[in-house]
Symmetry: D2
Subunit: 409 residues, 4 copies
């Protein structure tokens, strides 16, 4: 059996574990070193570090401290890795802990994080998803069950010093264009809640003030939240520092394209089994800027879809110019409205789009002025037929608890 | 054999055929009427109406008259169809004409149309794709061959009068924000080159002045350019006028998500075999605003991919806010750069992304400030291995003709 | 457009066309010669040469002259092909003729051909399948519709003289073990109805007496009736004579594994578009005895299945030893009985298993004394849900015409 | 987390565990009782009960005591289950134990068990497969790695008394036709090594003498060795005794169709997570004789194949009549010979066919006198290209240890 090189204790705060960090910085010390060809297991907190509980209240989602996220396990050094190499990572498996067979999905309050449809779902809500082997279902979203497309929401190597400075610079410039905005345009370095891993206290203090937040995806990968980067896939990461420094966290049991609920996928604590190899000087050999990857040979197959179109005229009738973001929002709203015809609440429908292996395609981006995006809703996750018919829909959804909501304080 | 209810003659101008039109207007007369349950065949011009030839010069792409497009076949009336119904359309098959077994892909000059990567490919270029049964290859883009994912780029029902006015209003408002822009922000009604089908001359003159251009996708579907709306799929179209008025054109032999080259897919003339049915009052029954559809059971399977990530920091280093358009552009540029390492020119690589069944996914849209988009490049369309390896790439592309380019005059 | 190198006239007897033959013999002259890399189209009679009509009587199936089959188009010579080479054949497309958009499936009378379940269906029956673009349905088998998995039931190169002698010898030996058996154990050479293509009359007379019948699959491929050798696949055929001599016929619109109804698949006349290439000395290079092939990238996807098991205890309770034939028969009977619970007649159910893209797997062949075979019934070809549920099945099949039966005379 | 209702200790003999049994008999007492809707975990010995070790000698395969197999976990009672019901079983997950991340594949000596190709591999051989997360590879079979298609080789409900008698009768009749045969035609009851679970000693003694051996698949399912009955699938089992009495064992990490090596798949000890439900009176409702099942939504996708044909002329040139067993053997031999051209030994190639997710199709069973079977070899499990090319194969297989062989004593 592969060695577990990073262990965690769910009963303890991630701040107590020096193999965890929650900022990106080139100077965070490696917590372990492995060799090319090795495989090993890394345990991970859920992205919030345990702030969300398995219960029927959304208070914890409403009150979450987002300056703490994401708690990452690592960085792991790889012998021989040098800037310019590609670190080849095979995700051999992912799982939840035996004692923690559940995950959560939530909508953040517009006052604290927001989300893709925050105008329509402005207050905190939460659904809990129980895992039964490879499958999941939720007491808050009846009549759906599906196999997990487990993946790390966040994985990548440490940035170089130059790259870090560039990140901070460009994000600050954006932030400064509208500094009062809620939600903010960007998450800037924030030392108070930084966890700099094994760094010595003095150095950590300095680094915390400039350590990049983990929220956005960047050149190194990071918080890409790509559902198809799932267990079984093979990823080629750019290396920027000696040893590579691979960190991982934010495990998801499943997610729809876009991670539209922001909190986010079906979020879980768990473990990830990895194997690493190197392509020396691979960045130049293959002109690599961002990571590239091969999808898994063992992803769940939910390939019968009902596909919803959206165009870049928003829900208020306003015309936008080739805006895929607006177009995808319309496709999502169209799907939500459709599902309500079968008895789902809008929050339940939104949860489904955030949690199930929904595809979001950029279908047309040149037909001025309208972008066209499509949302692919898998039909086989429902225990009834959701396809249209001449008879029209009937209320199929079993009565039960809706997605809990906690009003803003 | 099903009846061919609309015939065309490739040797004649589409303007001579009164079963063709190139504007949207509720008053365009039905050219044929069919019954629910009927299946029938419709012949279609390529979207430009024959402006592009099978040769090795891009002059015709450079000089194309885009005010003429798209030439559509129809409208076809369906007995019993009324506003509020859903018109269920099965695409039973699509094909090119025996005497016209080829298609074209082009990049418009930035001066005349532009495209998704027009800053990088500012001048007109064209590739010709020959069809060999279900497969295609190009003398301008060696070492790729793939089966066609044939689909209509443009299909939908006539708008109501109210809907037409709304389209014109919102697009004019957008246009007016930057009326001098090249390419324009929107294509407004333009009477000079309008073809109003069977409309009587006086009425046609009036209607031409307000008929919506066919360029963008809209609520009725229209020019969605969704590659997966392919032969074998089933589509549910909103009906806005009595009889429905289904028109179709802009047939594509294949296309990548986004239709990023704008001209566009592998564009072809050909025929489409359809079957129609109705869901009475289906729009209300299912809360339908835009068309929905089921994908085909017989689409080409190129499901081994190399996936490229892009984030919403543009190629000049500027930070954008959750902009999927920018993110997808980066993923495309990353793929293009990758392919050059095997010997493709950038134009050849761009053609591949525009023509092959490339997927474009909206992977993350909430992780401020970066959207993450992924481009899925099918690996099995190449006759050599394009996956990364420790050895690095070698020049694999056979020497030959590059994609012809015609400089702006 | 590719050249049609072999043309047929459905209104004329295949015996009048010297590009057709119905026996295997090394001396049948090539009807055309092509070059490696060429693609071309070949037209084909249905396997019976037009003996079966599109009507509602099975008399023609009952009275069929099986000594005539199969009518093949060819042989086509390939420049440079020599014994020991592999002839690489790409099936670029297959289609029915515009004027002949239908096919037939039948059960032969036990007195004249029989079939896999001939004890259960001892009399001639026939179903007619209409083609609507890529899809088919039958007035005799309601509530099913599916896309065609078009393939040549029979394709291969001419045998060498030595191979022919070996075929005749071994089949005669088997035949002689039970010469009175009905149906016979093997089909021996039969000169009366032989069609030897372009052979000169005297030579033809001699060759007809020894020409191998086309019924069984053999080393060269021949009548393999492999549904997955469908349009889009690539096949590597052994070459035994100079020029190869590729012949093809017995086109099927669709078929289930096993071709269990014997007459057989959905049988049709039509055309096939091929491309040929050579691997010199390929038989030795790859130790090839029988053809090998790659499946198509564009086969219909009906991949939700209900799977039936069968073991090698026959329907009369008798124990057989690791007999896959018996086991598959049980799986088929189990599926037929299951379908009757939804209102299908047994003949309708048998037709479905013969025509639809049913899979037959050799699941276990070592667990003495029982072989285990599985029949995979695609569920998406039905317009109702055939999966089991707690409520049990209800009669879903629309009333209509059953599969016509003609009693033995 | 679901409860583990049957636990085992790999360090102890299965004979010491009264929740294990190795014969089928209606009177074996239930070891646990669950309710419809429950999910639970069952631990299982490997089928030999630990007779095979992770080493480089095949002595244990040669000397295996096959009268002991298979060690099953159960029977588990289900509240409310009665004869005539269908027991619906969802396989929620399967895994190996943390401390036992490996499996074995072997060929039995012809003197002790034999196998499908025992004439070609008459002596005992063994390969060991290490598990790395969801993937496996073997030090004895280089250059292949693939994700597991984990499944129980053996699962089913207790037979009724009548059914048991019928099994014993028909198998004894077959056995008696050639009682001296090696390997035997059937495995008859054998009391000496019987393990009757919780049965009281006196009753166990009586039952052991008539308890059916677990080797063959039968009406209840049993040792079907169907690779696609994998984790994620849903199975409908006939119920013959009050409470059902579900037993399971013989877990496989992966297997090819046919389980042609007999010992067998990649055999492992491990656990299986199940959920049970009932369809009351389901056998009559759906005319069920043998189990039926739905395949998993989360099976590994290795869907690029090289397909080998075989016909029912055996490797010695003898003609058989529509014998799928012979035909599949030829397809297997063809594949083995093909693989040797890339440097594999025949034993390595045979192991691959037994272990990898190879498909075996019954392609044609009516074209007298030759059945046609196809073996589908997945190409993506190899780390080099195994497709044919004009250049011919080169030795690609890494040097190393061949599959260990132990000569008969």
């Amino acid at each position: 059996m592969a060695e577990t090189i990073i262990k965690i204790d769910l009963k303890k705060s991630p701040y107590e574990n020096e193999m965890i960090h929650n900022r990106w910085h080139p100077d965070i010390p490696m917590v372990k070193t492995v060799k090319p060809g090795d495989d090993f297991i890394i345990e991970c907190y859920d992205w919030t570090g345990g702030q969300i509980a398995n219960n029927d209240s959304a208070d914890d989602v409403r009150d979450v401290d987002l300056t703490q996220v994401h708690f990452l396990s690592g960085p792991v050094g790889v012998e021989g890795a040098e800037p310019g190499d590609l670190l080849v990572v095979d995700i051999l498996d992912i799982g939840a802990f035996q004692e923690s067979q559940w995950g959560f999905n939530g909508f953040f309050s517009k006052q604290n994080g927001g989300g893709f449809l925050t105008e329509h779902f402005p207050e905190a809500q939460k659904s809990i998803w129980d895992f039964n082997g490879m499958f999941t279902k939720s007491r808050h979203v009846p009549n759906v069950e599906f196999a997990g497309l487990m993946h790390p929401g966040l994985i990548g190597c440490l940035p170089s010093k130059e790259m870090l400075l560039e990140w901070n610079k460009r994000e600050k410039e954006l932030y400064d264009t509208e500094p009062e905005r809620v939600p903010a345009l960007a998450t800037l370095p924030y030392a108070d809640t930084a966890h700099m891993g094994k760094m010595a206290p003095d150095a950590a203090k300095v680094a915390a003030a400039e350590g990049a937040r983990t929220v956005p995806p960047r050149e190194h990968g990071g918080n890409c939240d790509i559902k198809d980067l799932s267990r079984g896939s093979k990823i080629y990461f750019p290396v920027y520092v000696k040893g590579g420094g691979l960190s991982v966290g934010d495990l998801h049991f499943s997610q729809g394209d876009g991670e539209i609920t922001f909190c986010g996928a079906i979020e879980m604590a768990g473990w990830i089994h990895l194997r690493v190899n190197l392509i020396k000087d691979g960045m130049a050999k293959y002109a690599i800027k961002n990571p590239i990857f091969k999808p898994s040979p063992i992803a769940p197959k939910y390939d019968d879809y009902l596909i919803f179109e959206g165009i870049s005229v928003d829900e208020y009738g306003e015309q936008h110019y080739l805006d895929v973001h607006v177009a995808y929002r319309q496709a999502c709203l169209n799907a939500i409205n459709y599902l309500t015809k079968f008895g789902y609440s809008k929050a339940q429908a939104y949860s489904i789009l955030g949690c199930a292996p929904v595809q979001g395609h950029i279908s047309g981006v040149v037909d001025i002025p309208n972008a066209c995006a499509t949302l692919w809703l898998p039909t086989d996750i429902f225990d009834f037929d959701i396809n249209p018919s001449a008879e029209g829909p009937s209320k199929k959804v079993s009565p039960g608890m809706d997605v809990p909501l906690s009003k803003d304080k």
